[in-house]
Amino acid sequence: MYRISIMDECELAQRAAQGDREAFGGLVKCHQAGVYNVAYRMLGEYRDAEDATQETFLRAFRAIQTLDPLRPPGAWLKKIAVNVCLNRLERRGTLTLEDVDALPIKDPGPEAQTIEREQNRQVRTALLTLPPRYRAAIELRHFQELSYAEMAETLNRPLSDIKSDLFRARKLLAETLRKT
């Protein structure tokens, strides 16, 4: 994985904001895995996740002037990714367990198959059966570690709705995982 310091990231973001495509390429290399994983968790299908990753970086490139140069760009990119995925999910609608089973899953290879535990597959499947809003709430709280207020800001929704979505999402996940 391509890693650089937060200071270098901020410098790359500043240069990218001045139109330096090479600097933006550095940000892509640095954050593509993180953004891809947001998309993969929310969409559950690797080709969709790749498309969403591409769309996220394209949006980021267009909006790079709005990025606070003093903040590391990773969190900003992941917030864009969540919104990109939400838009895609709204078009797609909620999946049932049968729909999730029918999704083309990336072949993990023999080595990875032995590593990947059955529980992880079950968790991913349970995540994919949640309504899009609930999935976004789980993503922002558990994987991006945002506060309730930051989640409300990212999704542009009232704080009470965000908390309600998050708590219901956890309850649904708990019920689904208990059944499997």
Binding site: V28, F143, R170, A174
Partner: protein
């Protein structure tokens, strides 16, 4: 002793969003209530399961394909400049062309009411334009706005004005179709 804990309390407890007094009260309740402990454990399982999800690695070809899809940095500025020039030229040509043409048509077509046919042009009284010698300056009706243009219209240069008008309309149409096409191809990226 408080009643059974509700979902909000349990979630806020797990999210470390309770103040010290609430925390003490909740922990006291949890230590004494197996039902609430069981509900808490169920939620804790969710936390643990989510935390244990491994990261997936994207395909190696993802970065090049993302970079390839980025719009050319200079093309955006170029397009914006081109459209600004196109809009400015179209507007300029049309400002010159429409009053002249409406006056001309009014002279040819009996009963022609330019302000009824083209109300958006806002030149309701084109009768101030004359084409017979002597040469007169082209100006817009003063009650709309006062603009003395350094041009003259005569029968002799009529064809030039006509071409100017056609060029304006074509520029307007071609420019706007290019803009729509450009925006549509950008949004597909």
């Amino acid at each position: 002793m408080i009643e059974h804990l509700n979902d909000t309390q349990l979630n806020e407890y797990l999210d470390n969003c309770l103040d010290a007094s609430e925390l003490v009260q909740m922990e006291a309740h949890l230590s004494a209530c197996p039902d609430c402990r069981s509900r808490l454990a169920s939620l804790q399982n969710v936390f643990q399961a989510l935390a244990a999800l491994p990261e997936e690695m994207p395909n190696h070809g993802l970065t090049p394909s993302v970079l390839k899809a980025l719009p050319n940095g200079s093309s955006g500025l170029g397009w914006r400049l081109a459209f600004a020039v196109q809009a400015g030229l179209s507007l300029g040509f049309l400002l010159l062309f429409f009053p002249f043409m409406t006056a001309r048509i009014a002279g040819i077509v009996p009963g022609w009411k330019a302000h009824l046919v083209m109300p958006e042009v806002k030149f309701p009284d084109p009768t101030e334009f004359h084409f017979s010698p002597p040469i007169v300056p082209l100006h817009y009706p003063p009650h709309l706005f006062s603009l003395a243009l350094p041009v003259t219209v005569t029968h002799a240069n009529f064809s030039i004005w006509l071409l100017l008008g056609i060029a304006a309309v074509l520029l307007f149409i071609v420019g706007n179709f290019s803009l729509i096409f450009h925006n549509s191809s950008e949004s597909k990226k």
